[in-house]
């Protein structure tokens, strides 16, 4: 049988396969350089970027939990200027779409960031993160409120023609309402889910295990929740979805695609198995071959 077609298209962003690496779990694409051939990936989403460099949360920043982990990194990053100057050149050396995850303090700042990045060589798309649980100003607030979501996405949409993926938070009563606002404001795609707010306490010191008290839960523990939200959104919004949350294996990835995702992102799995993303690409291909499906876009529940 012929090789199945794995190509995916997220609002104009074309990928050789539907497997991205998720923001914040793959650094700026250099860290796993020896182990993961970037050219094989569908896309690389870089660590969240802000306008100014950001220090992030004090340590401890991570805690292991049952089938998952909490992180409170707090969007530590070098800032957009240093990113373009120091990190992007390395990424330009690869034949893989680079998606920049942007984070603003307010809607205006999202717009400023998008404008700075628009037209910069080597950037294929923007992921508008309205869902980081570890920053106080901005961050989670936007993605929990329909109007704020609409405003942020509108601001970004006004200044760029880059494919725009809006990253939603699961910490909401009804994610479809937020998804609809993002769509109405001109998003080209949706990314879900970001981490779920969680906490852990050390019973010996009787203090929270994270300096930030709470952090974002990721990993296989959250997969059933992520899958449900992708399915819910896919029922009502007609935008391509990048499914994520606890994907460890090709089977997990296929569940998300069956739930309605057009692409998926591998996050925490990479920490446990640096080659997870590559193995997932291979596993999806094998599955399609085995099931006799010629095009991944035909895979439906």
């Amino acid at each position: 049988m012929i090789k199945p077609n794995l190509e995916a298209n997220i609002g104009g962003l074309r990928m050789k396969n539907p497997v991205m690496v998720a923001s914040g779990t793959f650094g700026y694409g250099e860290e796993y350089g020896d182990l993961v051939d970037l050219n094989r990936l569908g896309a690389v989403v870089v660590k969240g970027i802000t306008l100014e460099p950001k220090e992030g949360c004090p340590p401890p920043r991570i805690v292991e939990t049952s089938c998952g982990m909490l992180n409170a990194v707090g969007l530590e990053n070098v800032g957009v200027k240093a990113f373009i100057k120091e990190r992007l050149p390395h990424l330009r050396g690869f034949d893989v779409p680079i998606i920049v995850n942007i984070n603003g303090k307010d809607a205006k700042e999202y717009g400023v960031l998008a404008k700075i990045l628009d037209g910069v060589e080597g950037i294929s798309g923007l992921e508008v993160n309205i869902s980081c649980p570890n920053v106080k100003a901005g961050g989670i607030y936007f993605g929990q409120d329909q109007a704020a979501t609409y405003e942020v996405v509108t601001r970004v949409r006004e200044v760029t023609n880059l494919p725009l993926i809006v990253k939603l938070t699961p910490n909401v009563t009804d994610i479809t309402l937020i998804a609809k606002e993002a769509a109405r404001a001109g998003a080209d795609g949706l990314s879900l889910i970001n981490t779920i707010l969680g906490m852990a306490i050390d019973i010996h010191t009787r203090r929270p295990k994270l300096a930030n008290i709470t952090g974002g839960l990721s990993g296989p523990a959250i997969k059933p929740i992520a899958l449900r939200m992708v399915w819910q959104v896919a029922q009502v919004v007609d935008l391509p979805i990048v499914g994520q949350g606890g994907i460890m294996t090709a089977e997990d990835a296929i569940e998300f695609i069956l739930a309605g995702a057009k692409a998926i992102a591998v996050g925490t799995a990479t920490f446990v198995n640096p080659k997870a993303s590559i193995e997932i690409i291979e596993g999806i291909e094998e599955y399609l071959l085995r099931e006799g499906i010629e095009d991944i876009n035909a895979l439906r529940m």
Partner: protein
């Protein structure tokens, strides 16, 4: 940085809490530096979930194409407990060698007078590899200060002795050597100006850092932090330094004591 399935050649229980594991990896043995670590996947299922970091304790690279590495570890929780059940002949998924190790003769200066190694508890693990390097490859006299709760927790005394190091011991309960903390032994060392290499519990490292700063001694500490990726991708192991956050996994685990901003 290599990711591979590595065979357990030997696994010994030293005491019920301390274990020594010998792993077969010519590639890691070839490239490893003292102070670097391995990031070990504990289970092929999702629990325990994250990898666990362990210092390279010893390296054997006798013949071309052969090579063994050792870790020495203490069972402190679920991950190490699970690890302690792995048997000879099994394979472990290992990422390494990772991080920056101890710098010998840092900033290009050669060490002339020798080196002072200070290990507390399981913190001796990386110091054996370092001691061997200092004595065998650099022909330097090495003094080792070993600290432990009690004689039962005293590790690697024989190893250091065989390598030819001078050893001084302190135990908190006085069951062996000086009755007190290993840091009490600092003033007894001569020459007092040797560069210091240390690994052990945080309060010990902090006390040593403070003491050496006062006397302007060169001091390198091997630090610990909870880690996810181990390679600088997650920013989870952030450490406050005078140059802003650095990462224990990538910039460390060995840092100059004077660049670390020590917690209270």
């Amino acid at each position: 940085m290599i990711l591979s399935q590595i065979k357990v050649l030997d696994h010994q229980e030293i005491t019920p809490s301390y274990h020594r594991m010998v792993l077969e990896s010519p590639a890691i043995a070839r490239g490893a530096q003292p102070g670097q670590f391995l990031h070990i996947r504990i289970s092929d299922r999702h629990e325990p979930f994250l990898r666990r970091p362990f210092s390279i304790h010893r390296v054997r690279r006798e013949k071309e194409g052969q090579g063994e590495i050792e870790i020495l570890y203490e069972v402190v929780g679920r991950g190490t407990e699970f690890l302690s059940k792995r048997q000879q002949g099994e394979y472990l998924d290992i990422l390494g060698p990772l991080g920056n190790g101890f710098r010998i003769g840092s900033e290009g200066r050669r060490i002339e007078k020798g080196a002072l190694l200070i290990g507390g508890g399981i913190g001796v693990a990386p110091l054996v590899f370092l001691c061997e390097e200092l004595i065998t490859n650099h022909q330097l006299p090495v003094t080792v200060l070993l600290g432990a709760k009690s004689q039962d927790n005293l590790l690697c005394e024989e190893d250091f002795r065989k390598l030819g190091a001078l050893i001084k011991i302190a135990t908190e309960d006085g069951s062996c050597g000086h009755h007190g903390l290993v840091t009490d032994l600092l003033p007894t060392v001569s020459p007092p100006s040797s560069p210091i290499y240390t690994c052990g519990p945080y309060p010990m490292l902090k006390a040593i850092a403070r003491a050496t700063q006062e006397y302007h001694l060169s001091c390198q500490v091997s630090l610990e932090a909870h880690m996810a990726c181990g390679v600088g991708a997650c920013l989870g192991c952030g450490l406050k330094t005078r140059q802003g956050y650095k990462y224990v996994c990538k910039d460390g685990p060995v840092f100059d004591a004077c660049e670390v901003i020590w917690d209270d």
